[in-house]
Amino acid sequence: MIHAAVHDEPEVHSRMAVLGRLRASDTVFRILTRAAAIAVLVILGAVILALVEGSLPALRAFGFGFLYHEQWNPVTERFGALAPIYGTIVTSLIAILIAVPVGVMIALFLTELCPMWLRRPIGIAIELLAGIPSIIYGIWGLFVFAPFLQQTVQPLLIDSLEPVPVLSTLFAGPPYGIGVLTAGLILAIMVLPFITSISRDVFDTVPPVLKEAAYGVGCTTWEVFRHVVLPYTRVGVIGGIMLGLGRALGETMAVTFVIGNAHRISGSILAPGTTISATIANEFTEAVGDLYTSSLIALGLILFVITFLVLAAARYLLARIERKVA
């Protein structure tokens, strides 16, 4: 005791020092994390600024017409973005229309119905699908998938749908094998793992008590899924879909290989088309002249805006669902 009293003063001192050190490290930590967060904003701002600045010559030359003109002529330097915008949206739409039901069904099977021994192989296969580089999808699409579509699926579609009024235009020939539909199908395969693995993870969070209670009152598996699992997890599922949509909108290499790269809008989804990112990837290296380069950068800006709008729409949708639930 006495001993302690003698040394009282230095001990207070050292405690102060320790506290000071802790406070200092806390401050440093706060500054570091804040800097990291602000860096994101700065980078995003710089990207927007660079895109806007780069696309100014094109926007000045073509005005709003850039958005709704189909012509893309490097010879006369008349550029309009309608064909790539159309291709981007249609291919992503096809991808989502196919990947969402299939992905959610896979996730449901894995969490609710799958025998234990099959769970791991399927789960790992889905994760591997997400790890395949997009160039591999492109090469596979061009060498294997497109010839298969051209020789079997597309002639069948064209012939069997010919008498049906709207579908006959939507699936009009000739069967090239590559085109908007092929790109959409490849994209569907590419976004499938995102939707599946996120859906599976959120389906796993549903408390077993809820499901067991539903089964207890005599619900079928479909009813349990429709009225218990899905309402409980829809925020997560929509998040997964948006992540997939984001990838589909921006995917470049795989699409470039199989879409046919034609600056035309066609009523048929078997016809070749182009997307924004495929156009940029194809033409940027050889774009000579300021207006051409600037038009390609303006395409990038449009893709940025489309992605932003999709994210904003997703947020809005989620906010509305949450309000309704509350």
Binding site: Q71, W72, N73, P74, V75, T76, L142, F143, A146, P147, Q150, P174, Y176, G177, I178, G179, T256, F257, G260, N261, A262, H263, P272, T274, A278, N282, E283, T285, E286, A287, V288
Partner: protein, 348 residues
């Protein structure tokens, strides 16, 4: 004795390493000549120890890089105009040539069996001639059995010197092409599908029944595609071979354009292949790094003198001797170091 030889070999290798560090020539541009530039660079490095780093990023990229002075030389499949050369202070010269050939996928038709002429080719790519048994094609091929099959057009989707030269030829022979489509490294194609790179076009033509496309000669051979013969300016039917490509080059008037910027499409002469194309090198008249440019010129001089066989192995066409002489005279008179000393002397 053996020991001495081994020592000498090691010594040579070390010397090689030393000079490789001292000088590395850098260039960027066209993808079409990349295989031969890489092969030359490899052989040159073995001989002299001086390496060359060539990035095949495309002609447009090569022009941008040399204008930004990030490389010693730029390479382009489309020549710069005289005004552009004067403004930027660049010297342009042709390095090597190649041939562009139409390729088709028709059942029962062998390579070199089908004959096309310029106007018909233009009509096919405009989309006016839609079927293989069209009268225009039938007239040129009375002995070939042509199916009543839709023509599927395959063109390049990326900007390319091949497209530039192909379009230039079609514009020469078809006024309709000239006004409606025009000439550039990328075009607004009236019809067909786009594929990336020579290999992309080759693959799509190979896969699609009834397809027609255009590729560099080497790709047609590698992929065993059915190339066609062409009717040339003199009205003669010619097959794509080194001989007919060289004939086109020999018949061209190289001095008629600044920077030897002659497009070899539709040249006169009985044996000239109508779609022959040269590829050019760009260097500065008074470069910032005179030593690097001098090394680059030495390399190009070496390639002119020793590279013909390698070029022919890869199905490129070497420049004619008289053109090489003119080019080397241009180097000696126009490309100068900081004190006005020529960077190239013909004796080397």
């Amino acid at each position: 004795m053996k020991h001495i030889q081994a020592l000498a070999a090691v010594g040579l290798m070390l010397a090689g390493l030393g000079s490789a560090n001292a000088a590395e020539i850098s260039g960027a541009g066209a993808t079409f000549p990349y295989p031969i530039y890489a092969k030359w660079a490899d052989a040159y490095k073995k001989e002299t120890g001086i390496g060359m780093n060539y990035q095949s990023i495309g002609s447009g990229g090569g022009i941008k890089q040399i204008k930004a002075k990030t490389v010693t030389f730029g390479a382009s499949d489309a020549p710069l105009s005289g005004d552009d050369l004067a403004q930027t202070g660049l010297v342009q010269f042709p390095m090597v040539m190649g041939g562009i050939v139409p390729v088709v996928n028709l059942e029962g038709v062998k390579p070199g069996e089908l004959v096309l002429d310029g106007p018909t080719l233009a009509q096919i790519f405009v989309g006016d001639v839609k079927k293989w048994d069209d009268a225009a094609i039938k007239k040129l091929n009375p002995n070939v059995k042509l199916p009543s099959q839709a023509i599927a057009i395959v063109h390049r989707s990326d900007g390319s010197g091949t497209t530039y030269n192909f379009a230039y030829y079609l514009a020469e022979v078809s006024p309709q092409w000239k006004t409606n489509v025009g000439v550039n490294t990328s075009l607004q194609w009236p019809a067909g599908i786009g594929a990336k790179g020579n290999e992309g076009v080759a693959n799509n033509v190979g896969n699609t029944k009834g397809a027609i496309g255009y590729v560099e000669y080497a790709y047609a051979l590698q992929n065993k595609l059915t190339y066609t013969k062409m009717v040339n300016k003199a009205g003669k039917v010619v097959a794509p071979t080194s001989e007919t490509f060289q004939a086109a080059a020999a018949n061209a008037d190289w001095k008629s354009k600044p920077g030897y910027g002659v497009i070899l499409a539709d040249q006169p002469g009985d044996k000239s292949w109508p779609m022959t194309a040269a590829t050019w090198i760009l260097v500065y008249k008074t470069p910032q790094d005179a030593a690097a440019t001098a090394e680059a010129l030495k390399f190009f001089g070496w390639a002119y003198a020793n590279g013909d066989k390698m070029a022919e192995e890869l199905h490129y066409v070497p420049m004619p001797t008289n053109v090489v002489k003119d080019v080397q005279a241009t180097w000696a008179s126009e490309i100068k170091g900081p004190e006005g000393k020529p960077l190239y002397t013909a004796s080397k």
